[in-house]
């Protein structure tokens, strides 16, 4: 079963500073953690995809009524915290395993190595209806 583990831009319980304002060694530790987690998931045969999105500054919101010119609004937006920052798609044996990976992701190291306790949304991807009798 496949799950998408989603991270938004909202501040975490331990910091609201962006990575660029952290001490360099803390930022490096955080980035190394993300790379290591991807490697670990790949080695376990669970990683389908890991993507980070460009920041809210580059985001656009498009609205169209089907006629005329679409309305394009450039970012950043006041509601930027709700924007998708990145996601991982994992293929795992059970929902419990997806939660376990999400928990590991949530505890990524923040400033001074303190776990970030980031909010990770766990969403199952539509796919197999499951075997039944």
């Amino acid at each position: 079963m496949k799950f998408m583990l989603i991270q938004n831009y909202e501040s975490t319980e331990t910091t609201n500073e962006p990575l660029t304002k952290w001490a360099p060694e803390d930022a490096k530790a955080h980035i190394d953690f993300q790379i290591r987690l991807n490697e670990e998931l790949s080695e376990r045969g669970e990683l389908v995809e890991a993507q980070a999105l460009t920041g809210p500054e580059l985001a656009k919101i498009v609205v169209h009524d089907g006629e005329g010119t679409p309305v394009v609004t450039d970012g950043p937006f006041p509601e930027a915290k709700e924007l998708l920052a990145g996601y991982r798609i994992v293929d795992v044996e059970s929902p419990e395993r997806a939660v376990e990976i999400a928990a590991e992701t949530s505890a990524a190291p923040g400033p001074n190595g303190v776990p970030l306790r980031q909010r990770i949304e766990v969403r199952e991807i539509m796919g197999t209806p499951g075997s039944d009798a």
Binding site: M1, K2, S42, E43, R44, G45, E46, L47, V48, E49, D91, E93, E124, M126, G127, T128, P129, G130, S131, D132, A133
Partner: protein
């Protein structure tokens, strides 16, 4: 895929025989399996241009053995001593009959210690002869991820010291059950999953049928093996009718039965009739028997629901799976009316709490009982909880239709 179909078929057929011969000669299953995969890739590259050798199996064993020897040479002294000791086992002059190796390999790849996903991947590669890329595409994961999954499965087998041999009498039943379960899962993955191309899906089911045929050749007297094969054939027979042009689900009662595959129905029905007559009826046989009752009804109203209820009664005594009770409730509703079915569902509220199928079935029965107002909510709940896109489309459409009727 650059392989030509004839060569592809030949390679897949040859895979277990080649792997069996190489494992028996060198001992190391994990490395032998890699060597055979490499030999098969080399065959897929060179045979189309140079022609298929007169003895394809011998060619593949030769190339895979050479890879093994190269590997041993290039590795360290300690490792080399180990490998040489293994190689001193008396080499087989001729490969053993293919079907025996298929079965031994299947028992290894479906070892109960492996997770289902690992066992499926390893079986498709080692016994089915599929490439890692083909398996990755069928399950929509990157090739590197699938390669790791297979490699980990082989390490787990190595760690558990499973011998390359048939399981003993004491563990036979449990080990065979694992094999049949993995084959069933492969078939199901190809049949019910909505993602991926229809081609890749159909191929998985076809592989499951091919591998189950191989098990049946090795164990012609086992009625559950026959039952599983019959179940697959009788289910596969309906594939052309079960989805619409854009992949939407068509329920059994609305399918165009003229599209069903007669040959598969005849073969599956013969198999299951013969298996059931032998006594010792197991779960796969009962499921196949139910599928046969559906398949022999030329029109949906010709379905013998009483016989289906009787089979479900038997199945319920064999398993505590609440999904069986749910299916039985549908059959009972066809015989004794929707209210009778609804009463049976009440007992399932606890074991199937929140399961979308319970809500979908209840919605259907409520509607048939003329209780459309209550059915809407059940359709909506089912649509919100399903994990399948075609099912969600179907359930949403049903809810919308009833809401519209209510005005």
């Amino acid at each position: 895929m650059s392989r030509r179909p004839a060569i592809e078929d030949l390679l897949r057929e040859a895979a277990p025989q080649v792997l069996g011969a190489v494992v028996r000669r060198f001992g190391d299953f994990a490395d032998s399996e890699d060597a055979v995969q490499e030999a098969m890739l080399e065959a897929a590259r060179s045979w189309p241009a140079r022609g298929t050798p007169d003895n394809p199996v011998g060619w593949l064993i030769h190339v895979a053995s050479r890879r093994m020897t190269d590997r041993m040479r290039s590795e360290g002294a300690r490792r080399r001593r180990e490998e040489l000791a293994a190689a001193q086992e008396p080499p087989e002059a001729e490969p053993a009959p293919g079907h025996d190796d298929s079965l031994v390999l299947m028992f290894m790849c479906c070892h109960p210690q492996l997770t289902p996903a690992s066992a499926i991947a390893l079986t498709l590669r080692a016994v089915g002869g599929l490439t890692t890329g083909e398996i990755a595409a069928a399950f929509m994961v990157p090739e590197s991820t699938m390669a790791q999954r297979i490699s980990r499965a082989k390490q787990a087998i190595k760690g558990s010291d499973v011998p390359f041999a048939m399981p003993g009498r004491r563990e036979w039943a449990e080990r065979l059950r694992s094999v049949l379960h993995v084959l069933y899962l492969i078939f199901n993955e190809g049949y019910v999953t909505s993602g991926g191309s229809e081609l890749a899906r159909g191929e998985l089911s076809a592989e499951a049928i091919r591998l189950t045929r191989a098990v049946r050749t090795a164990l012609p007297g086992d009625p559950e093996v026959a039952g599983l094969l019959a179940l697959m054939l009788l289910t596969e027979a309906r594939r052309p009718a079960r989805t619409g042009e854009r992949g939407e689900l068509i329920p059994l009662e609305e399918q165009d039965r003229a599209l069903w595959n007669r040959d598969l129905i005849v073969e599956g029905t013969e198999l299951i009739t013969e298996a059931v007559a032998r006594g010792a009826v197991g779960e796969y046989q009962v499921q196949a028997a139910i599928a046969a009752v559906h398949d022999r009804a030329a029109r949906v109203e010709d379905t013998d629901w009483r016989e289906i209820v009787a089979w479900y009664d038997l199945l319920e005594r064999m398993t505590d799976n609440p999904m069986v009770a749910l299916s039985r409730a549908i059959a009972v509703a066809m015989v004794d009316g929707p209210e009778a079915g609804l009463r049976l569902l009440e007992e399932l509220d606890e074991p199937l709490a929140g399961h979308h199928r319970l809500h979908a079935v209840r919605a259907h029965l409520l509607e048939r009982a003329g209780r459309g107002d209550e059915a809407v909510g059940e359709y909506e709940t089912a649509a919100a909880r399903t994990t399948s896109v075609p099912e969600q489309h179907y359930l949403t459409t049903q809810a919308a239709r009833l809401n519209d009727r209510r005005g």
